[in-house]
């Protein structure tokens, strides 16, 4: 097959830190691979497990959840809940026979434009290497 695999990645970004960091990456004109689509939420703790699993079942080759660094959450504790939920999700991916590295949790602050671009580009590369998501199904709502 000649066609290069272009992964589809969903990125859930919290409004206060990681979304701001992404904006900074953009205004600093840093190149970020377009495979990741950003979904903005107010806090990483809003992301419940179903949302992540649905994304994977509907064809996301990778899911990135990004929030404020521990201690910096705009709502004080939200990112701690995200962290714990994420640890559980990683276990669930095993049950689904999905490579756990298709799920990533990253802490990105509002001043970390460069880090945002590095995280997303590396994740995109890694997912491209991992290939298409083996558990993707026909999405139906």
């Amino acid at each position: 097959m000649d066609q290069k695999f272009e992964p589809k990645i969903i990125g859930f970004l919290c409004n206060w830190c990681s979304y701001a960091g992404a904006d900074l990456a953009g205004s600093s004109k840093m190149e970020v691979k377009p495979s990741l689509s950003v979904i903005r939420v107010m806090c990483s703790s809003r992301i419940n497990s179903n949302l992540v699993l649905a994304s994977l079942l509907w064809g996301a080759d990778g899911v990135l959840v990004a929030g404020c660094h521990p201690g910096d959450c705009h709502y004080e504790q939200g990112n701690y809940y995200a962290r714990r939920r994420f640890a559980l999700l990683k276990k669930v991916t095993e049950i689904l026979n999905l490579e756990p590295d298709r799920l990533q949790l990253s802490w990105i602050s509002a001043s970390e434009g460069k880090r945002y671009s590095e995280v997303v580009n590396k994740f995109t590369e890694d997912i491209a290497k991992a290939g298409p998501n083996p558990i993707a199904q026909n999405p139906k709502l």
Binding site: K8, I10, N15, Y19, A20, A22, D23, A25, G26, S27, K29, M30, E31, V32, P34, S37, V38, I39, R40, V41, M42, C43, S45, R46, I47, N48, N50, L51, A54, S55, W58, G59, A60, H74, Y75, E76, Q77, G78, Y81, A82, R85, S117, P139, L141
Partner: protein, 561 residues
């Protein structure tokens, strides 16, 4: 969906125009079923742009507006205002970021165009599920309950009380003034005598808008910002309970002192003439500096940092008041030998060091003695042994004054539970944000000020009290309604199983449990809209009003197409 969505793509000068093929975007978007119109415009955030959008909303009879331009962090408010002015509910709007997170990140024009189309389509799918949201207005009571009648409580009460705002000042002991009232003198370079505390007490007592409850405590608190129901119980035989209503609560319960009697190394209670700072204040107040024998001492040692190691924090004021003691002793009798033993000299205010330098000039000795100080009997005198960088040394004195650490006042834990506010690891009340918001707690309407929050001196407590008053004066205005956050959470009773997971998750205490219906209920007045409860509900019963599951699912689904 019978919507009529208008999509407007901003050229943003060369920023979007040069990097994205806007015509191709419009071609694609116009083909979508629920899109009524798709147009481009040079600069939508300009006055011309805003006017254009307002006209378009009316002309095209749009039910939803989508703008593809810069980041929502930049201009979401701008375009929401445009919607409002055009008579469109501002929450039936979505701003798609095709500048910072698209045009500026993707150098290849074709790729950037494809990405922009993807984002706009996803945003259109999302906005179709937006619901109109109306801001609420809540009545509030401007009155305030201040818990603790020391200098902080007095300052807060005096600052707040007015003809349209009553203050209920509740004091546990039988008199006002707190710890400051027990001091004989304040630090001299800080400007004044204790008469200032007495003056404040009198002012509070004479103020018709302050109702004072002494020998009383708050025994019950219910409600929320603007609407607290508080029960004040008085001690004593005829213990009556009085119910009051207040819009805010300020906790100014002050501090206690560490009991050095716990540590045998200091000899308190075992060795004669070893006393605490508070006992020394009393002596100074009577102008009688005497030993147990009735004679005046010839030498005094002041030991700082008592309890510091055990408690794990510096109490900030002890170095200064120990220096104050030393000055007073020298003023009473200049040939008295005075030595201060300390771990670190904490002199953080601009005039502190000069006061310390003056003390040295008076012949007061300062020894960095480390944390291992041992107080022993030596005949009729006292020997103070200390370890200094591995070398043992000692001094012999007639009297030892211990400067104990400040600790949370008695009843702090119970009060915290009653108000549902947290304590930090030191046991003092915890600020909602140690740096940006040192007076507020996670429970809206409940503020903390003074030493109840942690060790600080009188000027700092006064500043904090005025700050708490500032918070209330600016947010709880008589006659003005409270306008809470709009994008809050709400619980669908049919799905709620009453597991109460959300109660423990909510940092702001915005969720309560209704035992009759066996469901949880969100208080929309104090909900901050973070969505933590939404994400953790096992039944999916909680909906975030502006980040609902259908909205997010549609956005994701479209992005994956």
């Amino acid at each position: 969906m019978n919507g009529q969505i208008g999509v407007y793509v901003c050229e943003c000068g060369p920023n979007i125009k040069d990097r994205i093929d806007i015509d191709k975007v419009l071609e694609d978007i116009s083909s979508l079923e629920n899109v009524k119109v798709a147009k481009r415009f040079p600069l939508l955030c300009s006055n011309d742009g805003k006017k254009f959008l307002e006209e378009e909303i009316a002309k095209e009879e749009l039910t939803h507006l989508v703008v593809a331009a810069c980041s929502p962090r930049e201009h979401e408010q701008t375009f929401m205002t445009v919607c409002k002015q055009a008579g469109l509910n501002p929450y039936l709007f979505q701003l798609i970021n095709i500048r910072e997170q698209c045009a500026w990140m993707i150098p290849d024009k074709e790729q950037a165009t494809a990405k922009a189309i993807q984002y706009i389509r996803a945003g259109i799918q999302r906005v179709a599920f937006h619901r109109p949201l109306e801001p609420k207005e809540i009545d509030s009571i401007p009155d305030v309950c201040v818990i603790g009648g020391g200098i902080s409580g007095l300052e807060t009460s005096l600052s707040l009380a007015g003809k349209d705002r009553r203050v209920y000042l509740v004091e546990k002991t039988d008199s006002l003034g707190g710890m400051a009232g027990k001091l004989s003198k304040l630090l001299p370079y800080q400007g004044s005598e204790l008469s200032s505390v007495e003056a404040k007490i009198k002012q509070a007592q004479d103020n018709a808008n302050i109702e004072i409850f002494t020998s009383s405590e708050v025994s019950d608190v219910r409600g929320f910002l603007g609407n607290f129901d508080i029960t004040i119980s008085s001690h004593g035989e005829s213990s009556e309970a009085r119910k009051i209503q207040a819009g805010a609560v300020v906790v100014t319960t002050g501090f206690g002192l560490y009991d050095p009697g716990n540590d045998s190394q200091y000899g308190l209670g075992q060795i004669d003439n070893v006393i605490t700072a508070l006992e020394f204040e009393e002596m100074l107040g009577k102008d009688k500096l005497l030993l147990k024998s009735g004679k005046p001492p010839k030498s005094v040692a002041l030991i700082h940092c008592i309890g510091r190691k055990e408690l794990g924090y510096c109490s900030k004021v002890c170095c200064l008041y120990s220096i104050k003691f030393a000055h007073r002793i020298k003023d009473m009798s200049s040939d008295m030998d005075v030595t201060e033993l300390y771990m670190d000299l904490c002199l953080p205010h601009k005039s502190d060091q000069a006061y310390f330098d003056e003390a040295k000039e008076k012949g007061i000795r300062f020894i960095r003695s480390g944390e291992d100080v041992l107080v022993k009997n030596k005949g009729t005198q006292i020997e103070v042994e200390y370890d200094r960088d591995g070398q043992k040394d000692s001094i012999t004195v007639d009297m030892v004054v211990l400067a104990p650490a400040m600790v949370p006042s008695e009843g702090t834990t119970a009060l915290a539970e009653m108000l549902n506010i947290p304590l930090d690891k030191t046991g003092f009340f915890k600020e909602i944000h140690e740096i940006l918001d040192p007076i507020s707690t996670p429970i809206e309407g409940v503020y903390i000020a003074g030493c109840a929050v942690g060790p600080r001196n009188i000027p700092e407590s006064i500043v904090q009290s005025q700050a708490a008053s500032g918070k209330i004066l600016s947010s709880l205005i008589p006659g003005k309604k409270i306008k809470p956050e709009v994008k809050v959470s709400e619980i669908r009773e049919d799905f709620c199983t009453g597991c109460q997971t959300c109660l423990s998750i909510c940092f702001y205490g915005a969720i309560s449990y209704d035992p009759i219906k066996d469901v949880s209920v969100v208080n929309e007045v104090i909900c901050r809209g973070c969505g933590s409860c939404v994400g953790s509900c096992p039944s999916g019963a909680i909906r975030s009003k502006h980040f609902t599951y259908p909205q997010l699912y549609r956005e994701v689904l479209e992005a994956l197409r």
